[in-house]
Symmetry: C2
Subunit: 145 residues, 2 copies
DNA sequence: GATCTATAGACAACCTGGTTGTCTACATCG
DNA sequence: CGATGTAGACAACCAGGTTGTCTATAGATC
């Protein structure tokens, strides 16, 4: 419950803050997906693999991302079957904002608990998660630490 | 990510273990719902309020719980409109098992991190979550499965 | 006692994020 | 060349949630 509550707290704060900066359309999944797409883009199937999800689910997520203007879809030049997803400037902006807000949230925690205790939580959880071989979560880059 | 990863780790471990003990049908939601119903039972609307969810959602959850034999539904004697949900012995067994498994999981964490560091994580998170009154199931992320 | 209002729960339609299964178009390997 | 594998579209479905509408009953008020 503590873990879930703290997670929810972060996500809610993040999206409240994103909303204030004109990204009210963004849903929690979008950040993860944009991160997974990466700066160089990715195909639908590739996105599905990175998120640990079926390509059909990835397609739905990508459709949502395109609708709010966070990514573009265009056919691949190398592979006649593939569709390449690329982050738009607005998508990049959302990611950068998210990173800044995460930092800001962490600072409020530090203010309340002190640097040492926040670090203790992070290190402890990292050790627990690392020892589990839970590759799917570990695959999600960037926001960790 | 750390918080989400650790939460998933617990939930996955818990249900793997429950499965071994003949409760493979149990879904994460069921434990929370059984807990919310309490030893004395609750009506549908009451369950919804306790879970922080609409009564319609509570009704669906209750239907699932009844189907796998964790609760019974019978009309209230005091209120002609109400339906009282009560935990069956099997439901109680599942809850007791869950509690034991949680304790067991926590012990493995203590073995790996030491008593002090686990307590530091718990206390720190408790402090962060405190005040935001975030103890309802509706506050839990949708990816529990 | 009659009536007005609030509540319990059923039913239905819909949303989101996922699944599986089937299909076509294209890629790649022997 | 043909066999096989992969990308993605389309459709049906599931779980857990929502809102809206409906009935029956409970409680308060005249």
């Amino acid at each position: 419950m503590l873990l879930a509550g703290a997670f929810r707290e972060i996500i809610d704060d993040l999206h409240a803050e994103l909303d204030k900066h004109g990204h009210g359309e963004a849903r929690p999944l979008h950040g993860f997906a944009l991160q997974a797409i990466g700066p160089d883009g990715a195909t639908l199937s590739e996105l599905g693999r990175r998120l640990g999800v079926s390509k059909q689910a990835a397609a739905k997520t990508a459709a949502g991302l395109e609708e709010i203007g966070y990514i573009t879809r265009r056919p691949s030049t190398q592979d006649g079957r593939a569709v390449v997803l690329t982050r738009t400037p607005r998508g990049e902006e959302m990611l950068n904002l998210s990173a800044a807000i995460f930092e800001q949230i962490r600072r409020t925690w530090v203010r309340r608990l002190g640097q040492g205790r926040v670090a203790a939580i992070e290190d402890g959880l990292a050790e627990i998660v690392a020892g589990s071989g839970r590759a799917k979560i570990g695959d999600l880059p960037g926001w960790i630490r």
